[in-house]
């Protein structure tokens, strides 16, 4: 090997290091522009379209056995909503809880926990996949959202179901919320869950009611659901992207 060669190699290594630093800075700068993340987000529609193309409309999420249950079901995000109204409900065991249903429905009304328990329900052992990458398996029991739909009769123009939650996410009191479309709302595994692992749903996991949308990631499955609203669009709600995390850059379609 000649000195010329090793000099060349050193130069190459330095060029590579400098080049990668420039590329990294470039990636970070692109991430902070407006147009680039929007271009990247175009893949969301592509993924959603492709995934819907290869799955049946009512394809069922995998269900597991008791042997697969996670020893404890991890609580993520809010573990105990820091709000006086919620705490007042919680101290009385949610006896005064009413789930208000409004918006584009023929019969707007509210449901007590007993009324929700009286709706046709389902028990399922499913895997909860968090956007962070972890999974936990739990046994859920709840009212089928489709049964609630039958009771309130959504109008034909209703396209989304919005879930308004009790948990404040910051000091100024921004509340968690989420939205799903009517296909997911009518899916047999979509539940308003009131039990986890044969116990009353713990506060850490969303008491008294949390949503289960089994074909999507965890952040879609709103905890502490207080009100349900049927809408034709959601761009007027909060940040306009259809959910608390969606307003912060996460995809509305969380099937991937």
């Amino acid at each position: 090997m000649t000195t010329n060669d090793s000099g060349r190699r050193n130069f190459l290594m330095q060029a590579l290091a400098a080049g990668s630093a420039v590329l990294l800075a470039g990636c970070d700068r692109l991430s902070r522009t407006e147009w680039f993340p929007q271009m990247l987000a175009s893949a969301e529609k592509l993924s959603q379209g492709a995934q819907r193309l290869v799955t049946a409309r009512k394809s069922m999420a995998q269900e597991f056995t008791e042997a697969d249950l996670s020893p404890t079901f991890r609580s993520n995000g809010t573990a105990n909503p820091d709000s006086p109204t919620y705490q007042a409900l919680a101290t009385k065991g949610f006896a005064a809880y009413r789930l208000a249903v409004s918006g584009l429905v023929e019969n707007p009304r509210s449901f007590s926990l007993a009324e929700l328990r009286a709706l046709p329900g389902r028990t399922q052992i499913t895997r909860h996949d968090c956007v962070e990458g972890w999974s936990a398996i739990g046994k859920w029991k709840g009212a089928q959202l489709s049964a609630l739909l039958d009771a309130v009769q959504p109008k034909p123009e209703a396209r989304y179901v919005v879930f308004h939650c009790a948990d404040p996410m910051d000091e100024i009191g921004t509340k968690y919320y989420e939205s799903i479309d009517m296909d997911d709302a009518r899916h047999p595994q979509t539940l308003l869950a009131y039990e986890l692992n044969d116990q009353r749903l713990p506060i850490a996991n969303g008491a008294p009611i949390r949503l289960r949308v089994e074909r999507q990631l965890g952040y879609k499955m709103a905890k502490y659901v207080m009100a349900i609203e049927f809408v034709s669009r959601f761009d007027h709600i909060a940040g306009g992207k259809g959910g608390y995390w969606e307003d912060r850059g996460y995809e509305w379609y969380a099937g991937i």
């Binding site: 590329l23 990247l40 592509l46 079901f73 895997r127 956007v131 936990a136 850059g249 099937g255």
Partner: protein
Amino acid sequence: MHWVNVIAFFVLLMSGLQIFNAHPALNWGKSSYTDRPPLVEMVGAQAPDGKVFGVTRVFGREFNTTGVLGASRDEDGAMAARGFPAWATVPGSRWLAMGRRWHLFFAWLFVINGVSYVLYSIFSRHLARDLAPTKTDWRSIGRSIIDHLLLRHPSGEAEKRYNILQKLTYLIVIFGLLPLAVITGLSMSPWLDSAITGWVDLLGGRQSARTIHFVAAFLLVAFLLIHVFEVIVSGFWNNLRSMITGRYRVRPTETPHDNE
């Protein structure tokens, strides 16, 4: 095609590490919360004196990896808990939502590019002519291994052809590792999991699939390192020119002893 691949690979790798950092542990099985500890885990911890240090646990053995894994310096220069360091992730700061956008966009680019390459290789007979090992190739495997270990490179007309180790490596990467990375990537989608209920169990469950995805990515990194090393030692500028323009200058045949 090759250069689209290069860009997409680096973006996928580094945005993948960003996503990994949101939960810097690898498990085997259907879920992350079983009675078994993770196979690999990176944690940042605080010593009694307040100093942050990074620990990596691999199959129950602990390593202090402060500065690189588990804890590394953030943009302000402060030591903070994080799986892979800022210089290895896209974006550099902790930003899962943006990491996912990069990853899920470039995944499409990578797959479309890769499928186009395979189709092109089949129809142009590149696959059959240049990549499929011949009988002579198989007989030369012993000598090829020794040549590679001694960094002895062919000259003359043999330079223009792939040797048997090259062919096998490329075939394993194209038809083994890359599809594996794509399939395990897709299997992490809860929506696709419902397409054929239970298919993820063929990969050992979702968390196993996530682990395989990670291992496949690092095997691809290993391939890349060897690939780039071989490109450099077998005549960097000549190779690079041929990769860009298609022109390759053949060295006159030498006896092996005169090599460099």
